[in-house]
């Protein structure tokens, strides 16, 4: 009982929480009783993670997902699901870390599409990959679609996708993170997906560098729900008058 509190006896859960650290130190409760939740949020602000550690973790994430899927679309959906909760939390974390001087009002969540996308391509990208995204475009055909492109995705740095799975882009994980950020900020999406720039699924925007220069170029396609666009219109009308 002390090992794993079930949901039924939640009234003494906090009591157990304190007791567990002393009874059996395990993975979640280290011997000095300082869990990751006890640390200051800003402690890891400038911390960097080993790229190899991420690469090996990602290998395991993909093979874990691969064992349980039927097709490529399924695998992509699973990666997306793995990224989604990260996005929800990163939104809050990064907003809380945004520097504000006392003269300025405290940080607010992005309420319009453009600031949200800018938050994703600069703040989020810089946090994840240490550099901003390479381009942000609006689809010419569909006003609700936005595209973020990354010429050399760090996630795919060591990965060669076999020919029979060429539709798969492991950046689906990052697409999931982006979806989490959008949802967390109140922008419902009809799906965020990752595509290879040299594929045929996404119309190639004119003027951008071709896939010859960046063979790994990846486009993350965000499709906002119609009600988001509707709200956007009302908001801009309100500010205009």
């Amino acid at each position: 009982m002390t090992q794993a509190p079930s949901k039924s006896n939640s009234q003494n859960l906090s009591q157990q929480h304190n007791a567990r650290g002393t009874v059996a130190p395990n993975l979640r409760y280290p011997s000095n009783k300082k869990t990751i939740y006890d640390r200051n949020l800003n402690r890891s602000k400038n911390a960097e993670l080993s790229r190899a550690a991420f690469a090996y973790l990602f290998v395991e994430m993909i093979s874990y997902a691969q064992k349980r899927v039927k097709g490529i679309a399924d695998l992509e959906a699973r990666l997306n699901t793995q990224g989604y909760p990260l996005g929800l939390k990163l939104l809050d974390l990064l907003l809380s870390r945004t520097p504000t001087s006392s003269a300025q009002p405290p940080t607010t969540r992005p309420t319009k599409i453009l600031p949200l996308l800018q938050f994703i391509t600069t703040t989020l990208w810089r946090h994840l990959f240490n550099r901003p995204a390479d381009a942000l475009e609006r689809s010419a055909e569909n006003a609700s679609e936005y595209m973020i492109s990354d010429n050399e995705p760090l996630v795919n740095q060591y990965i060669s996708v076999p020919k029979e799975m060429s539709q798969l882009n492991p950046m689906a994980l990052v697409a999931g993170i982006v979806e989490g950020v959008c949802d967390g900020a109140g922008f419902t999406t009809r799906g965020v997906s990752a595509h290879w720039a040299n594929g045929t699924s996404v119309p190639e925007a004119s003027g951008t560098t071709g896939p010859g220069m960046w063979p790994g170029k990846t486009i993350i396609l965000i499709r906002f729900a119609p009600e988001v666009l509707e709200r956007e219109e009302i908001l801009s009308r309100g500010s205009g008058t």
């Binding site: 290998v59 994430m61 093979s63 060591y158 990965i159 060669s160 076999p162 799975m165």
Partner: protein, 150 residues
Amino acid sequence: MVVFALLIINKAGGLVYNREFHTGLAKLSSNDLLILAGTFHGVHAITRSLIPSSLKPISNPGTPQNFPQRPSGLEVLESSHFRLTCFQTLTGTKFLLFTEPAQPNVDSVIKRIYELYTDFVMKNPFYTVEMPIRCQKFDAGLDAFVRVKS
């Protein structure tokens, strides 16, 4: 300075990768290459046990070592036309590099190839360990490195 070819042999003696960078060696069919890899694996195993007993590491049976110093076996094979350098990783994968006899710094070349292997093969989620290597980025990395080098 010419690097002729690279073979990678898994720990069971199977050929998992072969690549020719420059012509100069006799053309071998894929079957012959497999036989060559298997034969080399056997010869390597024999040479490993062929060391003088005076050089054998003194092992105290009372204190088990986590990483005992093992004899490395065949490392270089030289002929008038080529030199074969063998590098064995800790896990038993063997890298065979065929170069010209006069090629300098083969050690650093092979180390770099090992690095490329750990990056683009071992960190690739679609690669199954001990199976033949089919990784685009590994090929591209090798090409870029060996071509620049020669």
